[in-house]
Symmetry: C2
Subunit: 156 residues, 2 copies
């Protein structure tokens, strides 16, 4: 695995995301890394992240897929340009479409693994396929269609 | 609008959901109601529910669509059976597929409105289309394919 998380290399002003911003004390602070050609992130749900007792909340799974997807898109964009992640100008992506299939109830009390593969990539758009597993058993799969962040958002 | 929220009529053991359970003190506690043939829910994001400063986190929007979708599916199922919501046996649904198109950056500091329409309904499956708006301007739209909760989950 790469040593520094994608999200920890985002510029400070783009590091407040509830799902993955290192400056969001209340958020999930998801961390994504390269693992060969794939991207990987791990997250252990908090006790309150329940759907019904014993199972993980689907909105949390969607959030993990979302942030792992946009993070993977950003990392892939830097890689395609042969640039160090975090170098200026920032290459950040937002989600245009998020799609999640829930395959099986996801048990609480375990660490989730999100694995991403880059399905398609252009200068402006990256599609990332993601599988979420617990102990090697897929619980959800989905994709993120990520598009380059509009300048209007970067400037806010 | 109907007077009591769908989620407040869920049985106690199914009221711990992070997105909409009345017994989840840390959660969003989303409340959905009938408004004619449509369903409606309102939610005001907390300050930490940010994506980048000024805009709402997409994972929160996905979570709202998810819980409003399964709540609407449950309400529609009771309605189809001509039963009072909350009566036994419980008719609860889980998400099989969640799909969200992010149409425009969603500004912080406002109340979000989710409006659901029942697109398709059988005994076991309900598809709910949902539009999320701020001040009447759609920010995200999506659907939830909700399936009747397996007995194995109800028994846990």
């Amino acid at each position: 695995m790469s040593s520094e998380a994608f999200q920890d290399m985002y510029p400070d002003e783009l590091s407040h995301c509830y799902g993955c911003g290192k400056h969001n004390d209340h958020g999930l602070q998801l961390k994504s890394y390269w693992d060969g050609e794939e991207t990987v992130a791990h997250y252990t749900p908090r006790p309150e992240h329940t759907a019904i007792p014993g199972y993980v909340y689907g909105g949390l799974l969607a959030s993990i897929i979302d942030c792992h997807g946009t993070g993977s898109a950003s990392a892939a964009a830097y890689k395609a340009e042969g640039r160090e992640m975090g170098s200026e100008p920032a290459l950040r992506f937002v989600t245009a479409n998020l799609n999640v299939d829930y395959l099986a109830p996801t048990p609480m009390g375990a660490t989730l693994e999100a694995r991403g593969t880059i399905r398609e990539q252009t200068h402006k758009k990256v599609i990332v396929d993601i599988v979420l597993s617990v102990d090697g058993v897929p619980c959800a799969k989905g994709h993120v269609i990520a598009v380059k962040m509009p300048a209007s958002m970067l400037a806010s």
